[in-house]
């Protein structure tokens, strides 16, 4: 039987990955170390599959079709962006397991949208390349996109439930797989808005405190208009954290790093989720 053996939350701010190494600040080194630490933990967990929950930024999905929650059930490649030193080709996928998650959900009240072919963006491609795939135990990545950046947004309660549905589906998979779930998103940030570059560390710390306490209810209870006002449109991506918390059934978490320097446009939080 497959099982979820761990989970993580982490950022995907493109500004992290465009920087040439000779310009790295101390903070940038700490951020890269945090990605390395997650990669190492995934290896220690001997994970074979990574389910990565990301956010589209109005790039992959356009006004013609905006899925609430979507899973990649076929070929996967990426990331869409061209970051120095980060490979962009095919990503090993697991169509059978992904189709099973979609089908299991559909039979249990979760009408997944699917992508039969998916070229993932940085929100999934970067965690896949940096944290999951370098581990020799890792066989494949299953990409999941939540509507956490573009209206209409998935309700935060629903994001948690989708995580739980992923868990139940994984546990119903008959083969032995060790699955980690990565929730990929920035915390406070204002994407494309006049405030872009500002962060709200108080909000970020509050979110990470909730992650540490395993308190998804407080995160679900946050009002979106208030999030927009105090932490920016990018902070709506906490849906991806909430989904991962649901999948892991997280009762607590452990913060790996938090950075909010002027090098980036987002509060960057890294944590391990513990059942």
């Amino acid at each position: 039987m497959a099982k979820i053996v761990g989970g993580f939350v982490m950022p995907h701010e493109p500004g992290i990955f465009y920087k040439p190494k000779d310009t790295w600040t101390e903070g940038q080194h700490r951020v890269i170390q945090a990605f390395d630490q997650i990669r190492q933990r995934i290896g220690e967990l001997e994970a074979t599959i990574a389910i990565i929950v990301g956010a589209d930024h109005y790039v992959l999905f356009g006004p013609g079709c905006l899925p609430s929650y979507l899973i990649g059930i076929g070929d996967v490649a990426g990331p869409y962006e061209n970051f120095p030193g980060i490979e962009r080709g095919p990503i090993p996928s697991f169509p059978e397991l992904a189709e099973h998650i979609a089908g299991h959900g559909r039979a249990n009240g979760f009408d997944w949208a699917v992508a039969k072919s998916l070229f993932v963006d940085h929100s999934i491609g970067v965690p896949a390349r940096l944290c999951a795939l370098p581990n020799p135990s890792m066989k494949a990545v299953v990409p999941v996109y939540l509507a956490s950046g573009v209206e209409p947004l998935i309700a935060k309660q629903r994001a948690y439930e989708v995580g739980q549905a992923i868990r139940r589906a994984v546990e119903a998979w008959p083969e032995d797989e060790r699955v980690v779930v990565l929730g990929s998103g920035g915390i406070s940030h204002w994407v494309g808005l006049p405030e872009m570059g500002k962060v709200n560390s108080e909000f970020d710390r509050m979110v990470l405190d909730c992650v540490e306490r395993g308190d998804h209810q407080t995160l679900i209870g946050l009002d979106d208009q208030e999030i927009l006002r105090t932490a920016g449109n990018g902070a709506l991506e906490i849906r991806n954290f909430i989904c991962a918390m649901g999948a892991v059934n997280a009762s607590r978490g452990s913060v790996i790093a938090y950075e909010a320097g002027p090098e980036w446009v987002s509060g960057l939080g890294f944590a391990e989720l513990v059942e």
Binding site: H57, Y58, G62, M196
Partner: protein, 90 residues
Amino acid sequence: MTIYALETALHDLSVKREARAAFAQDAAGFLRRYRLDDRERAMIQDFDVAALQEVGVNPMLTLGFWMMNEPGRSRAAYLERLRAGRTSEN
């Protein structure tokens, strides 16, 4: 009347190379592909990102549109223009 024709044009200009090439060559001609009124066409042609956001266009699209089409492709210039407010008539 919705803003979705605007969002469709801006999305195409963000992600489709052919759209960007056509826009760079003949912006007015390219924009006739979409159900836009004169005011909306002007917002796009003038890169008036503040006006576009004012009418409700998603900020990710205004940023993507600017970075992929405005000749300078500079985020600092984008923010400067956005913070200066709208420049289109009406």
